[in-house]
Symmetry: D2
Subunit: 288 residues, 4 copies
């Protein structure tokens, strides 16, 4: 039976780890804060990332950003030190293509394989196993990891070599980021033109060029806008990384302008709120 | 029985005029090219806009832009010359709030009333009478015109005084314009990151931040992208008018950047194509 | 002796015409408002542009924009109707390269030659004959017109075929437009950072990356900022034409952003003021 | 006699330290790389920043950025640990207003005073003592430090409390950054319009809206563009900090667009070159 390790047991990682256990795989877990590891009943707890990786055939990570990924991977007690020939490292985190390629190189030095498989979906689909995975890496490696990928997701979409899953995830986030900034500016324009706020929002949320997702987020904001599902400062960061990865701002002026809206919202103090607060910043306030 | 005139019998105006006839109202029609007037069976044909307005209680216009509206309204044979006390002028065209207010002033000089009621929807809902109307003007005037408004639409939404229907229509168009520019830039970024084109489009068209409407337009482009439902140069113009109306570009950087994408696409020769061609310009080409 | 016609006798055209007379050339003049023609003592007054062109070997124009140029050129009484084989049309106006090329085609149909020779310099150098000319057209044609060019200018710089003088003039204006917008934004930032206004202006006007010209214009603004040497709305227009001519906004984001600053200033009501008022709009007010 | 310490003996710091020595002040020096300290003949060498500060009445720093400043200031062996009541810390580095205020707080905890006095000028004026200082801090403190300030500079301009010198320095750099980006875009437009490169550069460098400084830098680029006087990535960083400090990109669209030009140039691999290479990136190449 394939032995699995899971590192990073936050809001997303914990339910994903539980699904792997429920699918019958022996599981070793590690988390910076060990209490979250102890909460995964039925799993073995490792003291270090290295120990977790050493005990597994497939090592999964779900971390907050490239820096956290690197911190878990490197050093004497790091994940990479526990890798060896034939093992597979699956990274579910949202990072840059460059961070994915760096991790893959570290794995290769140990004879191990790496795939970037960032997830589309949030806590509920992580619990239900209905996430979708945007995968980068070698097809045969993904096939060898199929049991684990299937345990946590409804579908794995393969977009190319290492880093292409991360690239697809950033482009995916772009559409969220720009759509919200555009809607915020539409509401701001409507205000400056003297249009009635609630009726205007009602109309705009009904038209076919406005995605249904915006309606859910407007309800969320009207109900107070807490807690953050995805922090505004992270959206700004993803848009910036994407603009740079694409060759710079002049090539994608709309994306860059949206990044600017998030930058202003963050400078105004909204960085730790949900990214949907860019709507309130640009076109609010909203009340019931 | 209320007598109606309809001026401007293009792709939208003709089916709207027919619905008014079908609802039992006596109808006088006028069109710059008289052949299109003769095609409305059962209607009386006027030789001039003035003659059409003189013969009616409610005068409807559906024209291409502010200049066409002014050309039909002004002069010795113009619509305004045929207005008199108690008549109502309903303008279904998409124009600026300023153009609506100018028309209303001309009507008022004759003792007549004016409402701007631009339409949401295209040829099929115009034929079926399921358009939605975005109305500006006095409530009591709209009530007096209810029979006609109901004959051509499923719903009339009232957004304020004269010009506010036109304002709402421009903000409405913004969401189409920006969404398409953003999607085009997303495809361009995906290309520059080496992502597989068809698979990337497939994924992006499936996510909740992408409106279903984009899918229809991608099919339209894959099938050749003809004929234009809404010209790219008109989208550029609407975005520019809207940016200016809102106080200038720095206030709405995303909208202004989108305007820039349409400007570049128009400069490259795509001005008379459907606005969806901004997708091909930025992130194409697309094939089946 | 070469016979000369001069059409367009505004603030720049009148002193230029006088210099041609002073150099000993027989001169026929025309102006839309004939009083300005009568003010050129020693010149023959033509009743129409056609008559002026018919009476001359070299026909000069100095008009406000492409539309004015076309209005003087076209029609039964237009300048072009008075051209014939061997004549030369020198256009000193600031227009687009496309407008210059269109004029050249009209001249060619009559067997005449055309050069665009927009001027660098304002009223004083026009009076002193120390303007510089940015020339587009054939070298031999410019040589044949050398006597006239020398009468009005200190130097003629040749930048290529027809339209390249106009292109150079627009790029020339860019540096004025962007420098002023940048300085205005610098003053705005200084304000928002709480820096003392007068001392900050004093320092910035002293550093080597700030052109001396800004100092003169700051004095002009402090003295009331009247009259306009170059209207703000014209600067906006030149920047827009230039951005379009260069392929669109994404290729020249700084120029496009500067255009946006002038657009906002114009929307706020400053269009007919001198373009230096963009400084007051962005970073003012200034007092003595 | 006032005892002085100087920390940071790079291209600027070394000649400034020598001028203080030449003015007769007893001097203790420290540098991360001690060889550069040994090169200051006549100075006492300290082993740690703390030891340097402990040995002086006035402590000077000239470091590369906020991170370097903080690294030298903090910790057991840091500069702050060597401060005590009555001492003055003069920071000549270019940092953010926030970094200056943070340093001032650390000094105050020890009873010491702090002034931010970033310099305008480069190596030659540093050697000649003709720098200009842009000062933030209390007037009386600056007066007490007058002997030292006079030893290294021709003039000290006072712009307000702590941080206002740093603010003025960032605004100062803005005018360099935007002017170069604008000139680069002008050259790019000239290229796309088919204007002759060398002649166009010659003309633009002669007009009154182009600062003379650009001419020097064009000569520098034509001669190979090495070594970097001010790195391109630092210009990008300063513009970004400034845009954020001013409330975000929409408030200063021209500055933000210029930042974008530097961002693209840096992404293309020019980050460590002199910032003037933005000209080559946008509008080059240049040859003799």
């Amino acid at each position: 039976m394939t032995r699995v390790a899971f590192l990073g047991l936050g809001a997303m990682g914990a339910p994903m780890a539980r699904r792997i256990l429920a699918a019958g795989f022996p599981l070793t877990v590690w988390n910076r804060n060990p209490e979250r590891a102890r909460a995964i009943e039925g799993a073995t707890i490792a003291r270090t990332p290295r120990q977790a990786a050493a005990a597994a055939d497939i090592v999964c990570t779900m971390l907050s950003d490239p820096a956290a990924l690197q911190a878990v991977a490197d050093g004497e007690d790091g994940l990479v030190a526990g890798l060896s020939s034939g093992k597979i490292w699956l990274d579910f985190s949202t990072v840059t293509p460059a961070a994915s390629r760096r991790a893959a190189e570290r794995a290769r030095e140990k004879g191990a394989d790496f795939c970037d498989v960032p997830v589309a979906g949030s806590v509920k689909p992580a619990t239900d196993g209905t996430l979708k995975l945007l995968a980068g890496g070698d097809g045969p490696v993904l096939s060898r990891a199929k049991g684990i990928l299937d345990a946590v997701s409804a579908e794995t979409l393969h977009f190319g070599g290492v880093g292409q899953g991360s690239a697809m995830k950033l482009v995916n986030n772009l559409m969220y980021g720009v759509t919200f900034a555009a809607f915020g500016e539409a509401l701001a324009l409507a205000q400056s033109l003297g249009l009635p706020a609630e009726r205007t929002r009602g109309w705009l949320l009904s038209i076919p060029s406005v995605p249904p997702y915006l309606r859910d987020k407007m309800d969320f904001l009207a109900a107070g806008g807490e807690p953050a599902a995805f922090q505004l400062s992270l959206m700004e960061k993803d848009l910036r990384l994407l603009v740079e990865a694409g060759g710079g701002p002049a090539r994608v002026p709309v994306v860059d302008a949206a990044r600017g809206d998030y930058e202003r919202a963050r400078v105004s103090g909204l960085g730790e709120k949900d990214f949907a607060h860019v709507l309130s910043f640009l076109g609010g306030p909203f009340s019931k």
